[in-house]
């Protein structure tokens, strides 16, 4: 009996890239349903029934629909392949921490996206908020830099599903924080980028159009 093809609801260069990439790593052939974040088609009631907060990714698989990229990551790694670390595994605590830490970092990137990309004039981002959020993002990079001192990936034993969670962030972070002071993070990013499954996912994701400039410096304080 063949399984129905999983369907991934996807917005280019968003968190759903994590799922797109993990599916490639696992060799799972999925149908990709593109959504346009600016057109608001995720507010459609049919989509809402799948992803109740109207967000991507959502993954239709095993007869149900999952949302939350971290939950999808854990579920895929538990049910398919060998990229997870099951309960009881000596790296279980590190694996879970890495998955959720990636989301803490992504939440800060999202805050900056909200201020820099989605907030429309005349509304202006608050400069102190940009400063605080950027400082907090740097703090998460400091933590990652230290973690990577002794290992090449999120886990000492090598590549895992947690790297698809963390890795995605590292392609968005440099729009707000330069990676030069973080050599371990930059090397880790290069290591992930070299993976064939990453490149296959990147090709499916298409060119990045979300960010319109190469770097978003914090505007000069007018106060």
């Amino acid at each position: 009996m063949t399984e129905p093809r999983p369907r991934l609801h996807h917005v280019p260069f968003s968190r759903s890239f994590r799922t797109l990439w993990l599916l490639e790593e696992l060799g799972i052939d999925a149908e990709i349903v593109p959504h346009d974040i600016r057109a608001g088609d995720m507010r459609d009631p049919v989509y809402r029934a799948k992803s109740p907060a109207g967000r991507v990714p959502a993954l239709e698989i095993d007869g149900r629909t999952l949302f939350e990229s971290g939950a999808i990551c854990e579920y895929l790694a538990e049910t398919r392949g060998t990229l997870g670390r099951a309960p009881g595994h000596p790296e279980r605590a590190d694996y879970l921490t890495a998955i959720h830490y990636a989301e803490t970092m992504a939440g800060l990137v999202e805050q900056l996206n909200l201020s820099r990309i989605f907030l429309r004039p005349p509304a202006q981002p608050s400069i102190p908020v940009l400063k605080i959020t950027t400082a907090r993002l740097r703090a998460t990079l400091d933590g990652l830099e230290a973690m990577l001192e002794a290992r090449d990936h999120a886990l000492a034993s090598g590549f895992s599903a947690a790297d698809t969670m963390m890795g995605f962030n590292l392609f968005a972070v440099p729009y707000y924080v330069r990676l030069d002071p973080y050599p371990n993070v930059a090397a880790y990013r290069a290591r992930l980028e070299a993976r064939p499954a990453f490149q296959a996912a990147r090709a499916k994701d298409g060119p990045q159009t979300f960010y319109r400039q190469e770097f978003y410096p914090i505007p000069e304080d007018s106060q």
Binding site: R48, E68, Y75, A93, T97, Q111, V129, I132
Partner: protein, 225 residues
């Protein structure tokens, strides 16, 4: 020995509530919700300077939801987790993760209303936007609890779990910024779970320093409307 690093009313209340539900022995290290979380000693436990952090059998963990998952796996007897392969595993993961999505909006609102020192730093547009996003989160919970067949008492068909603890504590914090009026199933569910002794024991003590010192922080009016 389990040691929880905790600030009253913060996300670490989620770990405290869960530990109470698990009925395992632990001790609490109270922290002030301020710059002391950036002290080098604490950063060695939690590299981004956040609560909770958990010390357990020589492991040091941070990240609330990672702690939730790990504790449920380590102490399965209380039935708070849903192990891989169980029918509700998928839903359990979704809601444990979704609690963090709610909390990200709460963190942004806490910053806007409370952490920023001066009024000119605040953004009424952001306050309103984030409060609306919390309402969208409530709508997602409302839809989950009110199914066409019969209302669920808890987020999972199989009954109370750490998913309710996680989302419930996120709602505890969210209520300071977005009202549950208009979300009757969420309000009923919240009333049900917040009666639990383990929840009550996780509330701030009598003389604890509070993050939220009033019942509600309404968005400020947006200029020019």
């Amino acid at each position: 020995m389990i040691r929880l690093h905790h600030c009253p009313q913060s996300r670490s209340m989620r770990s405290l509530w869960l530990l109470n539900e698990l009925e395992v022995p632990f001790e609490i290290v109270l922290h002030a919700f301020d710059k002391s979380l950036r002290d080098p000693d604490y950063l060695s436990l939690s590299p981004a300077g956040r609560v909770p952090a958990l010390e357990i059998e020589g492991e040091r963990m941070f990240e609330t939801a990672a702690i939730t998952e790990y504790l449920c796996e380590r102490y399965p007897a209380a039935g708070m987790g849903r192990a891989p392969g169980e029918p509700d595993r998928m839903a359990w993961l979704v809601w444990v993760h979704f609690a963090e999505t709610i909390s990200q909006h709460v963190a942004s609102l806490t910053q806007q209303h409370i952490v920023l020192r001066e009024d000119w730093m605040r953004s009424p547009v952001m306050m309103e936007l984030e409060a609306r996003r919390l309402e969208k989160c409530y709508a997602a919970i409302e839809a989950r609890l009110s199914t066409p067949i019969e209302n669920r008492d808890y987020l999972l068909t199989s009954g109370f779990s750490a998913a309710d603890v996680s989302v419930g504590q996120a709602v505890y914090m969210a209520r300071y910024f977005a009202s549950l009026d208009g979300f009757p199933a969420v309000a009923d569910w919240y009333a049900r779970i917040s009666e639990r002794p383990a929840f009550r024991a996780a509330l701030p003590g009598e003389d604890a320093a509070l993050i939220y010192d009033r019942p509600f922080y309404a968005p400020w009016p947006v200029a020019g409307r």
